[in-house]
Subunit: 369 residues, 2 copies
Amino acid sequence: MNLRRVHIIGTGLLGTSIGLALRNLDIEVRLSDRDPGRLHLASEMGAGKAWREEDALPQADLLVLCVPPGRVAAELKRAQQLELALTYSDVASIKAQPQLEAEKLGVDVTEFVGGHPIAGRERSGPGNARADLFVGRPWVLTPTERTGTQAVAAATWLATSCGAHVVQLSPEEHDAALGLLSHLPQALATLLASRLLDAPSGWLEMVGQGFRDVTRIADSDPELWAEIAGGNIDNLVPELRRLSADLADLAEQLAAESTAVTEGPRGRTSNAFRQAVARGNQGRERLPGKHGARPQLYVSVPVVVADEPGELARLLTEVGDAAINVEDLSLEHSPGARLGLCELLVRPDDVERLQVVLRERGWSVHVSP
Amino acid sequence: MNLRRVHIIGTGLLGTSIGLALRNLDIEVRLSDRDPGRLHLASEMGAGKAWREEDALPQADLLVLCVPPGRVAAELKRAQQLELALTYSDVASIKAQPQLEAEKLGVDVTEFVGGHPIAGRERSGPGNARADLFVGRPWVLTPTERTGTQAVAAATWLATSCGAHVVQLSPEEHDAALGLLSHLPQALATLLASRLLDAPSGWLEMVGQGFRDVTRIADSDPELWAEIAGGNIDNLVPELRRLSADLADLAEQLAAESTAVTEGPRGRTSNAFRQAVARGNQGRERLPGKHGARPQLYVSVPVVVADEPGELARLLTEVGDAAINVEDLSLEHSPGARLGLCELLVRPDDVERLQVVLRERGWSVHVSP
C-alpha cells in the first residue's frame, strides 16, 4: 500500500513530526490547526501545507488526528461529515474511551483505527518536532472487530513510513499497559516534584541529576493529563494503590531494621533496601535496548567555553571552518560560573578530526562521556 | 589558601574525577585503591600518581576519602594512624552516621570535615570520570562544632578548585535534605522498575522515554544503596510513608471521580490529576535551572537555521556582534531535514533587540513557544 495524500489535524509535536517524516518521503501533507501561529511554524518547518476549509481539494487517503484524547471523537465526527479522508487514525495516549465516544457519536468506525506512537519529548509544540521522532519506536494500533481492513492498512503504512514498528493490541489492553508504563510514572514524577513545594529553599540547590531525571515528566501539561488520567481511571487506580503499598512496605521494613539490626563493620546497612534495589535492577534488565532505544547516530564532544558573548560563536565558527556539521548541541553552565560546557553532537567519523582541530586552536576538549 | 599535595583514596568515578580536575591545575595528586586495575586506569587517565604504602613521601595537605559511606570512618582512622595528611575530607552521600562512627573510633575529628559533591553520572568507575564533573555543581561541607578551621579551608579549596561552589550544612540537615532529594527518588525509581518483573513480556516494548527517565537510577548498585539507605533510615522512613500516603490519596480521589463525575464534552477528565500535575509543575519551577541556569531568568527565541556547516556559527557571530550574551542554546533538527530550529536563551531585556537584529539580517525568528 502506498498513500499519496495525508491530512494532519493538530500541529503540535506529534503532528508536525509526522508531517516532517512524510514530507521526507515526498508524500503530500495537509496541515490544519485551530492555532494559526502554530500552523504557520509547522508549515514553515516543512511539515506540509497549511490547509483551509475553503480550499477545495481532493479527499486525503488518511487523516491523522493529533489532538488531545478528549477531542478525538468529536474531531473525527466532524472530519467524516466533511468527507476529508477515506480512512482515519489518531495518536492519543488512551484508546478505549475515545473509541467508545466515537461509537456513541455515530462515527463510521469501520473507517477509523486508534493509534498511539510511543514517542515524545519533554518539550511540546511544533518547534520541537523532528522527522526521526518515531524511528525505531513502537506504534500501537488498536483495531476492534468493527474496524475495516483499509483503515488498518493505512495506519500501518503511516507507522512504518515514520520508521516505527506496529504493535497490535485491543484498546483495553493498550490502556492497561499504559496505566503501568506511562500513567503511573507520571503520577510518581508529579507527586515527587510536588514535595519540592514544602522544601526549605536552601535545599533546592542540592537537587542532583537523579531527582531531575525522575521528575522530568512532571513538567507535563495538566490539561492533557486531566484527559489521559480521567480516561484511564479504572487502570490507574489499582496501579497507584499497588505502588503506595510497595512504598509503605519498604518503609516498614526499614523501620524494623532500624531497631532490630545491630551495626556491622560497615555501619548500619539495610538488607531491605539492598533487595529492593536488586529487584529494580532486574526489572530494568527486562527493558529492550536499555542503553538507548535509538541507534546512536552521533557522538558527543564536550568542550569548555568561557561564559562571554562571542565565545560560543568563535567555537562554532572554527568548527564550521573545518567543514564539520554540528548535528545537535547543548550548553550547560550555572549562574556565576566562569565556564560552561558545550556538548557538540557530530557524526562518529568527524570526532577525531574535531578534537584535533579544536585542541590546535586552544580549546579544552574532553573525552566523550 | 593553596594546597600543593592531595591524596585520594578510592579511584572510582568521583575520586578519579577529582584527580583529573586537580591535575589540570598542576596539583600533585597521589592515588590509592584496593583494586589495582582501577588504580592503574585512573592513573593512566591522568588523575594522579599511583601511591604504594611503602613509598616514603611527605604528608599530603589534604586526603580525600572516595570510598563507600560505611568505610569512611575506618579508612579515616587508618589514614590518620599512618599520618598520611594534615587534613581529611570525604565524598560520601550520607554524613551524620560516618561522622558519628569516626568519633566512636577515636578519630581526631578536628582534622576532618565531611563533604558531598552533588554530582555523579549514571555510569560509575574511573573510565567515566571527567575533570569537569563538578563544574557549577554544589559541594556540601558538613562541619560540626569540633571541626578545625584548617580542615574546612582545605575542603573549601578542593571544592572550588574542582569548579564547584560550597554549601555548608550540619550533617543532620544534609541527611534530611538528601532523604527527600536523593534517597526517596531512588526508592521510587527502584519500586517502579520492579513492577516490570510482573509485566507481560508483550508490554515491554511499549516502554517509552518517560518510564526510562523515571527509572534510570534504578540501575544503581544495591550494595552502595544498602549503606546509604541504612545510614539514613530515620529520614528516609517518613519520606517513604509520606509519598505512600500521597499516592493513596490520589488513588482515592480518582476512584471517587470515576463514580461521581459526569462526562463532559471532552470525555471524562480528572480534576484531581489536573491539580496534581499543576502542583508538580510548580514544584519543578522551584528547581534552579533545568539546564544549570535559572530558566525563569531567560527567554527563548527560536530561529530557523539551515542544516549546513557554518550557518549556526554565522547566527551566533551576528548575535555576538550585537553584544547579546546567549545564556543557553539548544539545536533541534532531524537527520535529513533541511532546516533546524535553534532556541537562543537570552535575558528578557535583550529579546526585542535580538529579534530586530536577526530579522534585519534575514533570519526567520519565531515567537517564543
